[in-house]
Amino acid sequence: MKILVCIKQVPDTTEIRIDPVTKTLVREGVPSIMNPDDKGGLELALRFKDKFGAEVTVITMGPPQADLILREAFAMGADRAILLTDRKFAGADTLATSNALAGAARTLDWDLIITGRQAIDGDTAQVGPEMAEHLNIPQISYVAGLDYDGKTFTVKKQTEEGHQILQFEGKGLLTVLAPAFKSRYMSVGGIVDAYDREVEVWGADKVDLDESKLGLKGSPTKVVKSFAKELKQPGVIHEVDAEHAVELIISKLKEKHII
């Protein structure tokens, strides 16, 4: 079995700065990590490696520095790592990103694609499902469990009410929830080897896709305005009965010149 895991490097903070001109994230000076849901996805793939001898390839699209999370993936146990990096990929929204990743996937041999549910920087949860659409394969999102009997995959899909058990055969794409798959630590031996191994660096020419679908050109999303969410002040709780509550509300509204 061959598993392709899509991972993303994200800033390790909730205090994300946004470039006021380009409206995109400023990554400089912010420590970067492997996106938690993606790490959960890698963990799931590595469990399949432990159990069924699956071959695990990790792929990421990003700047050259994204090499770091691929080294981390090596040290956790991944077999092969691909870095999609090219100026032509820059400025990609989720559609262009999923197009690029799907384009790369078309040139690779795999049985299963695993992505994280969503990345903590954008929180869109779109790239995985879009990839499945581009590749025309079944997808199951919000995966919290996976089993395999040699032919059929049995998937536990988290829903708001509980979970569903779904089955499929053949190729498919899963988007994974990090809390369901507590990721392993990098092993010391894996770390020692991580920088001796080859990360394959692919440019846009290696991806099976029309260049017009890549990067800023292939991104229909237009960000009108980005702004930092303002913090609301903590509220005050008044323990009063209904009659006094009306008076209180009116006085407060008057205080603020609302009425």
Binding site: E72, Y185, M186, S187, V188, G189, I191, V192, Y195
Partner: protein, 386 residues
């Protein structure tokens, strides 16, 4: 000259830091309180390869270096000094002498078991009458046919009772003095070998510290480590390396106590403001951080020299490791004592970790050579024979 960690060392630091925070820290108070050896943590560390950091891959190790090893002990000790010393004694005092002085056969037989963490290692030099004067060995080893017969007692042995293999120093020819001392490898289940009473300690209370008893303990002739009569040198060389581990442990304890104090002084309000806002707090803490960083440079520099010495045996690091241990352990004592002071009454209670760190710090000034021994080593290097 480059003070940066390599990419590999940095990746390792991130892993071990996270491991220590998530897996080691939550148990630190409990194993101290219960004086319990943290078997569950040992298993986790074994799985990750933490017990085989500087051992080459051909012997089942991770193939890392001594900088990585020192970072491991530092980061583990930042959260739990007990966990730090388990790794340190195992690595520096048992695996490394086998790696450096063992025969190819001994390396193939023992290193994979030790590096994988299947076996923990220990080292026995100290005796009731041979502490700082470690050449006054009373444990004897006599060759009888194809076996060495060991008799005597060792005390204060870290990892005793938990270890699968012990490097043991014993007298083989009293008339030769230091040159009559030899080193041996003793497996835990050897008849005639037993573990005596556990010491009740002030600090590092989760680590096992006990007596070793040899009562006509017979080991195969091939379990001699190095040559006959070279045991004292093996022990001293082993401690040169071990001191880097203890220095790293002290450094970790100091950093842990400082980190706790930064956190506490920012939260704790007196006279209407956080005590971190008082210049007395800031200046004292600035001095402590400076000392910690100086200690870190000494530790890393000694570890770097040890790595260089592996490639070139003309490089000596004995004084470097002594200076690292002397300085880092005294800094650890100072930082932890002041950390308790900054915490005030709360710091004296077991609600906060700094009192444990202060108890743990003290041993780093004592074991693997007291601060006085380190000064002897440093002065010996400085003056030569006077």
């Amino acid at each position: 000259m480059n003070f940066n960690l390599t990419k590999t060392q940095e990746l390792f630091r991130q892993m071990i830091h996270e491991f220590a925070e998530k897996e080691v820290k939550p148990l630190a108070a409990e194993i101290d309180e219960q004086e319990r050896f943290p078997e569950e943590t040992v298993k986790k560390m074994a799985k990750l390869g933490i017990f085989g950091i500087p051992v080459p891959k051909e012997y089942g190790g991770a193939g890392g270096d001594n900088i990585m090893y020192s970072i491991a002990v530092e980061e583990l000790s930042r959260c739990c000094a007990t966990t730090g010393v388990i790794v340190s004694a195992h690595t520096s005092l048992c695996m490394v002498p086998i790696l450096e002085f063992g025969t190819e056969e001994q390396k193939r037989k023992y290193l994979p078991k030790l590096a994988s963490g299947e076996w923990i290692g220990a080292f026995g030099l100290t005796e009731p009458n041979a502490g700082t004067d470690s050449s006054a060995q009373q444990t004897t080893a006599v060759l009888d046919g194809d076996e060495w017969v060991l008799n005597g007692n060792k005390i204060f042995i870290t990892n005793a009772g938990q270890a699968g293999l012990y490097v043991i120093i014993a007298m083989t020819d009293k008339s030769q003095g230091n040159r009559g001392i030899s080193a041996f490898l003793v497996e835990a289940d050897t008849p005639g070998f037993s573990v005596g009473k556990q010491e009740l300690k002030m600090g590092i209370r989760g680590s096992s510290t006990a007596e070793l008893i040899f009562d006509n303990c017979r080991i195969p002739k091939e379990n001699l480590l190095g040559q006959v009569g070279r045991g004292f040198r093996i022990a001293m060389k082993t401690l040169d390396g071990g001191r880097i581990g203890i220095a790293a442990q002290a450094l970790g304890i100091a950093q842990g106590a400082l980190d706790e104090t930064v956190k506490y002084t920012k939260e704790r309000k007196q006279f209407g403001r956080a005590i971190a806002k008082f210049q007395n707090t800031q200046f004292q803490m600035a001095d402590l951080q400076t000392k910690i960083e100086a200690a870190r440079l000494l530790v890393r520099s000694a570890a770097f020299k040890k790595d260089e010495a592996i490639k070139n045996d003309r490089i000596a690091y004995s004084a470097d490791s002594a200076m690292a241990k002397l300085y880092a352990s005294e800094v650890a004592m100072e930082v932890t004592t002041k950390a308790v002071q900054f915490h005030g009454g709360y710091g004296y209670t077991r609600e906060y970790p700094v009192e444990r760190m202060m108890r743990d710090a003290k041993i780093t000034e004592i074991y693997e050579g007291t601060s006085e021994v380190q000064r002897m080593v440093i002065a010996g290097n400085l003056f030569g024979k006077i």
